[in-house]
């Protein structure tokens, strides 16, 4: 029996994980969502900004990572739209501006005027070099926006000489270039407040920046997104996804415990040597 479990087809594990994710999405349990202090800090910062304040929202993420970040990013954009803040969108991942375009179209910004209330400046190549170039000269780095129109004279960019005129920079980040690069090129040298919407796997790496106050807020993964949705009173994907995340975590812990039960029960028997995986 134990040998059968040890050699169990991986697809059975995948099936259990699939069911643990799907069932709560179809039949939500409604578990309460807690709000982290870093999420609350960002909410309060944005809530305190006067109308028409410009904020950079940089989509530095791939479509793969965006699945995890979308709830936080959408909640952020909706809050900014509610507060009538100017959204200066851009991206340093080639796929970022396309994702931003979709996000803006699904957010409360769709009821506002492009070019006056928000803009998608598009993609700037070069990674950290691109961020450095943009920090020195925004208009020069983006002579045309994502839609191909000239950025000169756009009302949304009025009064903005450089990144120093921004009240906040938020990077929706799933990799590199991301938070560290923005802090090195903009946050630290220009003293512009920085925040991030971040994938879970990068949270341990970025917590030092939060502690050192180089980041003033963070929406960590879907949990942070669900928390932000609760703060702005617009429950959406993040909240719906937390039940699924809870049950799938329990499923994974179950398999870890099962693996250890099999291991301890079969410890005296000689293990079959196989390539791949630690013995």
């Amino acid at each position: 029996m134990l040998e059968k479990l040890e050699k169990m087809d991986r697809r059975l594990i995948y099936l259990v994980v699939f069911l643990s994710l799907t069932i709560p999405l179809i039949w939500p349990i409604g578990l309460p969502v807690s709000i982290g202090s870093e999420t609350r800090s960002l909410y309060e910062l944005i809530d305190g900004l006067p109308a028409r304040t410009p904020v950079i929202v940089s989509f530095d993420c791939s479509p793969g990572g965006y699945g995890e970040l979308s709830s936080g990013a959408m909640a952020l954009l909706n809050h900014m739209a509610k507060k009538d803040l100017r959204c200066i969108g851009m991206g340093f991942f080639d796929t970022g501006p396309s994702l931003l375009e979709g996000a803006l179209a699904s957010s409360l910004y769709k009821g506002k005027t492009y070019g006056t209330d928000y803009v998608n400046l598009g993609y700037l190549a070069g990674g950290e070099n691109g961020i450095s170039a943009m920090a020195k000269n925004i208009l020069g780095s983006f002579p045309k926006d994502f839609r191909g129109a000239s950025t000169a004279g756009l009302p949304v960019l009025q009064g903005i000489a450089g990144v120093k005129d921004m009240a906040l920079v938020v990077t929706v980040s799933s990799g590199t270039p991301g938070v560290a690069e923005w802090i090195r090129q903009v946050g630290d040298p220009l003293k512009v407040p920085m925040a991030t919407v971040l994938v879970a796997v990068n949270i341990p790496n970025m917590t030092p920046y939060l502690q050192a106050k180089q980041l003033c807020g963070m929406i960590p993964s879907m949990k942070g997104g669900a928390g932000y949705e609760a703060l702005i009173n617009m429950k959406a994907l993040g909240t719906a996804g937390m039940d699924a995340q809870s049950i799938s975590h329990l499923a994974i812990l179950f398999f870890v415990i099962l693996g250890n039960v099999i291991y301890f029960a079969g410890r005296n028997k000689p293990a079959a040597a196989k390539g791949g995986g630690r013995q």
């Binding site: 791939s62 950290e128 990799g175 040298p189 796997v201 390539g275 791949g276």
Partner: protein, 258 residues
């Protein structure tokens, strides 16, 4: 002169470079440098040998990072190790498949492998189309590697360099096809996945020490010692800062923000 906010960083860089230069000079003068045993590097020959015995290819991925960003040192370290693996593969007549995500790494990988085959006198065995650019999109690249591993069933899988979210998936698929896996990265977020999913894992600086460890080149070994000297200086600074902070002085905090 020196830009505001970068004075301390500049002088720290100078100190670290001086440590590196001193250690390399010392090694060149004949003072031996010993590096502790790194199991993952010792296992490279075992892995390629396994592939020869099983008649299956070796797969090498030098990470998905480029050569112009902060992960560039990892890519160069991986290319160094790729040269070593290519030498072994040429010597033991085992096919080497290299999969590339970043376009600018492709010519470097081609040249590294071709040169290795040339130096082993096996240039006719070098197959240029075994060095494959798959896609510069992260998950399209990962999906293509899954397909290659499922079809070619490598007996040895090297995942060395800068990796992001696809790391665990590459290691798991390698495990599914029964490959002996040696992984290594300095991307802190991916180290736990490699530790869990691969047979041998090079963590952080062990990847950078790879070329020095395998070649036993004096200058490279010297630079490893220099790294350790630099770390010792940083540790002393941290300790001094901690003691000063506890005593109520913000001298080091002010110094480091200059």
């Amino acid at each position: 002169m020196i830009a505001k906010g970068k004075v301390f960083s500049f002088w720290m860089l100078v100190v670290i470079i001086l440590c590196l230069l001193y250690s390399m000079w010392r090694a060149r003068k004949g003072r031996p440098v010993k590096i502790r045993k790194i199991t993952g590097l010792d296992a490279i020959e075992e892995a390629v040998g396994r592939a020869t015995e099983m008649g299956r290819p070796v797969h090498f991925c030098p990470g998905i990072g480029g050569i112009s960003a902060i992960e560039a040192p990892q890519t160069f370290a991986a290319l160094g190790l790729m040269g070593y693996v290519a030498h072994l593969s040429a010597k033991l007549d085992v096919p080497l498949i290299v999969t590339i995500r970043t376009p600018e790494v492709l010519p470097l990988a081609e040249e590294t492998v071709r040169q290795a085959y040339l130096e082993e006198g096996k240039i006719e065995a070098y197959i240029p189309t075994n060095i494959r650019f798959l896609s510069n999109q992260q998950f399209a690249y990962a999906a293509a590697v899954f397909g290659i591993m499922a079809r070619e069933k490598p007996a040895a899988n090297f995942l060395l360099g800068a990796f992001w979210a696809e790391a665990l998936m590459l290691a798991e698929v390698g495990s599914e096809v029964g490959a002996l896996q040696i992984a290594g990265t300095a991307q802190l977020s991916q180290v736990p996945f490699f530790v869990a999913a691969s047979d041998y894992c090079l963590i952080g600086e062990e990847l950078f020490a790879g070329a020095a460890y395998l070649s036993q080149d004096k200058m490279q070994l010297g630079s490893i010692l220099g790294q350790d000297l630099g770390k010792a200086i940083v540790a002393l600074l941290m300790l001094a800062g901690l003691i000063a902070k506890q005593a109520g002085s913000s001298y080091f905090t002010t110094l480091m923000s200059k």
